[in-house]
């Protein structure tokens, strides 16, 4: 599949927004869906629907096979060692909550420390805050530098003998910084500290190789990867999934249930209680196929060219200030315009069909550090083009005109 024609795969772009072509620059929030993924949801419900893993009838067996096929595809895509290291969740948020909850039961006591960074999304902070409240653990923050990066040194500085787990984003959803996670994982492991990577922004844009990274946990948001909403993935090393307790109790995760005892099922069932997001899991296989057809190397090259072009034109635009200047930058362009609040920018851009996000992007810690309450953010996906960024720039100019700048 040629990446230049990839927009055609996404039916959303056939629609007009306020009589304009849609320029979708909000993929860090959620990506659009290719036709193949949309069709797969429809087909599954129309022709093949059944719950999985329980009944023995024809449809149940077929649906179970489809469901497990996605697990195998994900395993291959992220190069996990074992299929059972892939756990489906309702989102990356649930994946991180699962780790925080189960890891703390087994390994955290009062005074133990979790090290996260000032770049983290609220979903990689609030679950740890719960434990601060309930168990008295401490949360330390590695400091972001003036370019919006987290360095290995900034992590190392905050490690103490009580650090039990490091939680870091792979790619910042505000500054776009790609973190040196492999080096951080190596450092952590040399001190016997586990590492959880928030891969929400990393997974759609970067090459994933769990065995090479050697991380303990990696959380993925499927709807940011051209897949359906309501679905996330937790990759966890098998030793952790075997050792940690289950997260939720219910049907499907048990082995034997007696009045005085319950034993839990084997992996992956142990962590998939209740009826799962079956159609979404099955449709997500099409998202993986879509990404594989283009090829992650081509996606990286395409998005890197766009991000460089976007930075170049926005830097030339007076009164636009880019937020963060990381050396390794992924598909995010956050900016402010002096004299125009980000929400006003977003409303004015929307009138031209340009969809961006304004606010703190669930990163209040970072915005506090930057001393601003909100930023405007244009974020990229495979379907974006240079023309999209030109339109962004021209709509920014329109915005400046309206505000008499």
């Amino acid at each position: 599949m040629n990446i230049d024609n990839v927009k055609k795969e996404f039916p959303i772009f056939n629609n007009k927004v306020h009589n304009n072509d849609l320029v979708y620059l909000d993929s860090a929030n959620s990506s659009q869906k290719p036709q193949s993924v949309i069709d797969r949801v429809n087909d599954f419900y129309s022709k093949e629907f059944s719950n999985v893993g329980r009944s023995v009838h024809y449809l149940a067996v077929a649906a179970t096979n489809l469901y497990e096929t996605t697990r195998s595809s994900v395993q291959k895509y992220i190069n996990a060692k074992d299929k059972n290291e892939i756990v489906f969740t309702k989102g990356a948020t649930e994946a991180i909550n699962l780790v925080a909850n189960t890891f703390s039961q087994k390994h955290l006591k009062e005074g133990d420390e979790i090290l996260i960074t000032e770049l983290e999304h609220h979903s990689n902070y609030v679950p740890w805050h719960f434990l601060r409240k309930s168990k008295g653990i401490k949360i330390e923050f590695a400091e972001v530098n003036s370019d919006g990066e987290i360095t290995v040194e900034s992590i190392e500085k905050k490690i103490t003998p009580r650090t039990k787990l490091i939680g870091i984003t792979h790619l910042s959803n505000v500054t776009g910084a790609i973190l040196p996670i492999k080096e951080i994982i190596e450092l952590a492991h040399s001190k016997r500290i586990a590492v959880l990577v928030d891969g929400c922004q990393g997974a759609p844009h970067l090459k994933l190789d769990m065995q090479d990274l050697d991380c303990d946990f990696y959380a993925i948001s499927c709807h940011k990867m051209y897949g359906p909403t309501g679905l996330g993935i937790l990759y966890a090393k098998k030793k952790w999934l075997e050792e940690l307790p289950p997260y939720q109790g219910g049907g499907g995760m048990i082995k034997e249930v007696k009045k005085d005892s319950v034993s839990y099922g084997d992996l992956p069932n142990k962590y998939e209680a209740g009826t799962m997001a079956t159609a979404q899991v099955i449709a997500f296989n099409q998202s993986i196929k879509f990404l594989e057809k283009i090829g992650i190397e081509n996606i990286i090259k395409h998005e890197q060219e766009l991000i460089e072009y976007g930075q170049e034109i926005l830097r030339k635009n007076n009164s636009v200030k880019l937020i963060g200047n990381p050396k390794n930058k992924g598909a995010v362009l956050s900016f402010t315009i002096e004299g125009v609040h980000p929400h006003d920018i977003a409303t004015i851009l929307d009138e031209d069909g340009v969809a961006i996000r304004a606010g703190h992007h669930c990163c209040q810690i970072l915005h506090d550090k930057l001393g601003i309450s909100a930023t405007a953010r244009a974020s990229l996906g495979v379907y974006n083009t240079r023309e999209d960024l030109d339109q962004l720039n021209s709509s920014i100019n329109n915005c400046k005109k309206i505000f008499n700048l």
């Binding site: 929400h343 409303t347 703190h360 309450s373």
Partner: protein
């Protein structure tokens, strides 16, 4: 709907140079409000005299042009009015933003109505209505001494 109807000159002007953006000395009522979705926040300070007339009103906070202009225009217009008049004006304004085509309050002069109607463009932008109404809800909270921080996500 043209975007310029939302961002009229008067809105831009008040947004850029908000009136009464300060803290009233010896205020006797105040309340905070915030919009957790976008981080806009406002703190309203009121000084009522013995006859419950607004001797001074001011605000502190940060937000978009719509929210700053709305707070600016509101504080300008509320000064000198009596408490019961203020409540009636707030209800009239919120009613206009929600559904009414025009303002009905007898406590508003024609030129005051014209000024407030400049904020009516926001009706076409449902996501921005909260920006325009945050300071007004917060004003009521201050008058009622409700001690409760206004949260736009908890309003109907």
């Amino acid at each position: 709907m043209n975007i310029k109807e939302l961002y009229q000159e008067i809105i831009l002007e008040h947004g850029k140079n908000p009136r009464n953006l300060r803290k009233t000395d010896n205020f006797n009522k105040d309340a905070k409000g915030n919009n957790p979705l976008c981080g806009d926040n406002v703190h309203i300070y009121l000084k009522l005299d013995e006859k419950k007339k607004v001797e001074d009103i001011s605000f502190e906070g940060s937000g978009c042009a719509i929210s700053m202009a709305s707070a600016s225009i509101m504080t300008d217009l509320i000064k000198g009015k009596e408490e019961n008049e203020v409540k009636e004006i707030v209800n009239d304004f919120l009613g206009m933003i929600k559904e009414n085509p025009e303002l009905k309050s007898k406590n508003l002069k024609e030129d005051e109505k014209t000024k407030l109607m400049c904020l009516s463009g926001v009706k076409q932008y449902p996501m921005r209505v909260k920006c325009a109404t945050l300071s007004w809800h917060t004003l009521i909270s201050a008058i009622d001494n409700s001690q409760e921080e206004i949260n736009t996500e908890k309003l109907n």
